[in-house]
Each structure stands twice: as structure tokens, then as C-alpha cells.
Symmetry: C2
DNA sequence: CCATCTAATAATGTCGATATTTTATAATTT
DNA sequence: AAATTATAAAATATCGACATTATTAGATGG
């Protein structure tokens, strides 16, 4: 038995470690879309040989975060307006489906998690609203915190669908959508108006959820998830 | 330019080749669920070194066809009744969604593909109905042919949704469902009754599609895709 | 000056070797 | 005899090296 509660005693392989790092670096835009991923550079950055790197890239290949061409190595998956649209709309459909199923399985535990994560999110948003300069380093961190909390709120709702397969799809689409957000969302697009709208959306959604109004909840989440898309749509890149 | 019409002049890497072979071997049950995938054995079977094999396995890891534990190597992904249920139901939901969107985008080209692939499928089924012994080698091949044609029919319908992301999800779920079919479907479960029911399902579905009756079509496809699940549900394994 | 061919340089994909860890087997103790 | 420990065998994860292929830079010719 293991004394430390959350530690998984068996160590992670290099390949497993580098998957999450590489993924972060692609999602957050450290590597630009379509950028060639030189093995020499990756070896230096992550301090390991080619074998674990290629295994990690093979995984990201399936997740469509990188592309490969034989004898020409790996590149970061390109971005396009068409893919942006596809990802955001598919994600909206999928999460809508999650919510429909979650309402069918609704129980007290589920409701509790929603209320709790909504509360946490409101607190984080409140903190952010008091930050004057949204370009400061402090604000950057708080925004990231808000993002994480926001995601946890949505996860709390969708996890009620009780379908690992569907949740895995949802998560994959969330990641890809977040990449476009990180790449294309200009700083000045995020203002207090956005957070206000978000909070209103959530309040409406929660009301529909608690009333088990499936149709309305699905429609609300669908529109809610398309909000960032509408902002991104006009972006140049 | 390339003279031979379909040849992609750049050769496939070993890793790319072995992905599809390994996948086939897992989906068709050559490797049993949970079976340990010894590198020595894989090297001998596919005639290559560990590097391309590990890269291929890394891809199948993301597709949840294998699992890995550090320092203990790869195993075939286990099966369970819970996963069987999840996969089949999620697949039914996803394909239902595909059809809803396809009807929204409906056009003549789409209708044509449906009619054509339905025709091909009926011919294949007719051939099969004339085969007496369903256990013969000939029948086995015809059944596989029917499966492929059946899949093409459904692909023709769903491709109308025009969403690469959604279709990718659908395909992944199809593969995983086919694994359970191959592993658990007893020979004697497939009889002419099954094919008759299938044909009736399809006729109803096509009628709903052509009439743009989205609600009905979604309900029909959902039930249609759960048919094999109902058979498999009771299987021992 | 631009295009084409050639030489060099660099990067890729794969293999074999190695250190480490796990598993199987034998020996020892209670 | 069962359980524990020690030993041997096997398997894994990673690295460095090599052959092959792609890319770049330079030279040649139009």
C-alpha cells in the first residue's frame, strides 16, 4: 500500500511525460501551426532521445495535434477557419448531447457538484473583475485560473452523462478548441462584458438543468459554446 | 506528376504499415482481450524492430485498443459489458446526430449515394441468402463482404453531415463496436431473420431520410444500431 | 539574372545494444 | 508444506549509431 494518497508509485515513462508537455506547448502556441518539429530541437528542449519523442508524437498524431509525412518528419497540425468552425460546432453538439443524457441520469450528487463548481467560478470571476489592468502578468494568471475553473464547471455538468466514451470525445474537442482560443483570441477581446454574459448564460443554464428542462438546456449550452467562435471567426491569422 | 492513378508516390513508413495490421489483428480477435503483446512476438510477426512497433502501439493507445503500463509493456485493451454498452449507445447517439445534420445539408448528390449503396447492399444480401451453409469458408467471406457493404451504406448517409471531426468520432466508435461483434457474436446468432430485419430497418430509414423526417430518422438509426448490442448483451465471454 | 543541375549538409526512420525492471525459478527458513 | 528470500532469466524503455532520404547552397549554363 502507498502512504501518500495520490501518488501513483510506478513512475511515468519519458514518453508519457513528454506527451503532456508537447501537448501544452502546441495548445498554448509555443509551437506555431504548421511549424516543423525538428528532432534536434525537441531533444534539446525536453532533454531526451528520439525514441520517447517519436512515441509521444505518434500519440499526438491520432489526436490531430501534429501531422507527419514520411521522411519529412513531424509538423504542428495546421489551423484553418474551416476546422475552427467544425471543431466549435461539433463540440457544441457533443456537449449538448452530454447534457441531455446527464439530465436523464440526474441526481443530488450531480446537482451538488454543479452548484459547487458554479460557486467557485463566480468567486474567481469576482476576483478578476477587480483587476484593473487585464494585460498585467497577474491578470494573465487569473485568466488562466478562470479558464480552468470554467472548464471544471462544464465538466461537472457533462460528467453526469456517465459515458466515458462520450466524455473522452468532449475532452478532445475542448483541447482543440482551446488551441484556437489561445492562438487567435486577442487580448482586447476579453472584457468585463464577456464575463457578465458568461455568468448570465450559466445562470440560465443552471435553472434549466435544475428544472430538468432538457430541450432548453441543450439549446442554451449550444449557443453558449459558440460564443467564443463568434469572436474568433473574424480574427486574422 | 504520377502516372499510376492511385499510387501515392511517397512510401509508407514501417510504423504506418503496422498500425493497420495491428489494428486488424486486435479488432478481429487474433490477439485476445488483455493479452500481453510481447515485443519478441510482435517483432517476429510483423518483421520489424521495436521502434516502429512502439510507435504503432502508441497510436493504438490513444484509440484505446491497447493499454500500457510502464516497464510492463503493452496489452490488448480489455473488454467489459460496461464498455460494450457505452460504446454501442454512444455510437448510436453520434450516428443519430450525424444523420440529423446530414438531413439539414441534404442534397441530390447525397441522396444518390444513399440509393446507390443501398442497392449494392441489397445485392450482397441476396447473394448471402442463397448460401445454404453459413459456416462455410465461402459464407465467411461473403459475410465479411456484407459487413463492408453495410458499413459503406451507413457511411454514405452520415457523410452528409459534412463534419470531419464528427465523422472521425463515428469511425472510431464503429471500429470498437466491430471488435465486440467479432469477439462475442456467435455464428448461430446470424441468420436470415437478421438480414430481413436489417433490410426493413434500412427501407424505413431511407424513407424517413428522403422525406427529411429528421426526428423519425434519428430514432430509427438509434434503434437500428442497438440491434447487435441486444444480441451481444447476453453473450458470455 | 534566372533556371537547372550538382555537391554538401542536415534530418529522418530504423536497428542493435545496454541499463533497468519485472517475472519466473530455486533455495531457504519457519 | 507454506511463506519468504535469493537467484536467474526475460522483457522493457531508452540511447547512440547508421543507412537512406530530403534540403540547402553553390556552380554551371542559358
Amino acid at each position: 500500500m502507498d502512504s501518500s494518497p495520490l501518488s501513483n508509485s510506478n513512475t511515468e515513462s519519458y514518453a508519457e511525460q513528454v506527451v503532456s508537455q508537447l501537448k501544452q506547448d502546441i495548445l498554448q502556441g509555443y509551437f506555431a501551426p504548421n511549424e516543423k518539429l525538428l528532432m534536434s530541437r525537441l531533444k534539446a528542449r525536453y532533454n531526451m532521445g528520439v525514441s520517447p519523442l517519436r512515441e509521444a508524437l505518434s500519440q499526438l498524431l491520432v489526436e490531430q495535434l501534429v501531422v507527419v509525412e514520411n521522411q519529412k518528419g513531424f509538423r504542428v497540425h495546421p489551423v484553418s477557419k474551416a476546422e475552427l468552425k467544425d471543431i466549435y460546432h461539433t463540440r457544441a453538439h457533443i456537449e449538448s448531447l452530454c447534457i441531455k443524457l446527464a439530465i436523464e441520469n440526474a441526481n443530488d450528487e450531480w446537482e451538488g457538484q454543479i452548484i459547487a463548481s458554479d460557486h467557485r467560478l463566480k468567486k474567481t470571476a469576482h476576483l478578476l473583475s477587480q483587476t484593473n489592468n487585464l494585460n498585467s502578468e497577474q491578470a494573465r494568471q487569473q485568466l488562466q485560473q478562470w479558464e480552468a475553473t470554467h472548464h471544471r464547471f462544464h465538466s461537472a455538468i457533462t460528467s453526469g452523462c456517465q459515458s466515458p466514451a462520450l466524455l473522452k470525445v468532449r475532452h478532445s474537442l475542448y483541447e482543440k478548441a482551446s488551441r484556437y482560443r489561445n492562438l487567435w483570441l486577442n487580448q482586447y477581446m476579453v472584457d468585463n462584458q464577456v464575463f457578465d454574459t458568461n455568468e448570465k448564460d450559466h445562470d440560465q443554464l443552471i435553472e434549466a438543468l435544475l428544472k430538468r428542462n432538457s430541450k432548453l438546456a441543450c439549446e442554451l449550452i449550444y449557443q453558449h459554446l459558440l460564443n467564443p467562435y463568434k469572436l474568433l471567426q473574424g480574427s486574422e491569422f
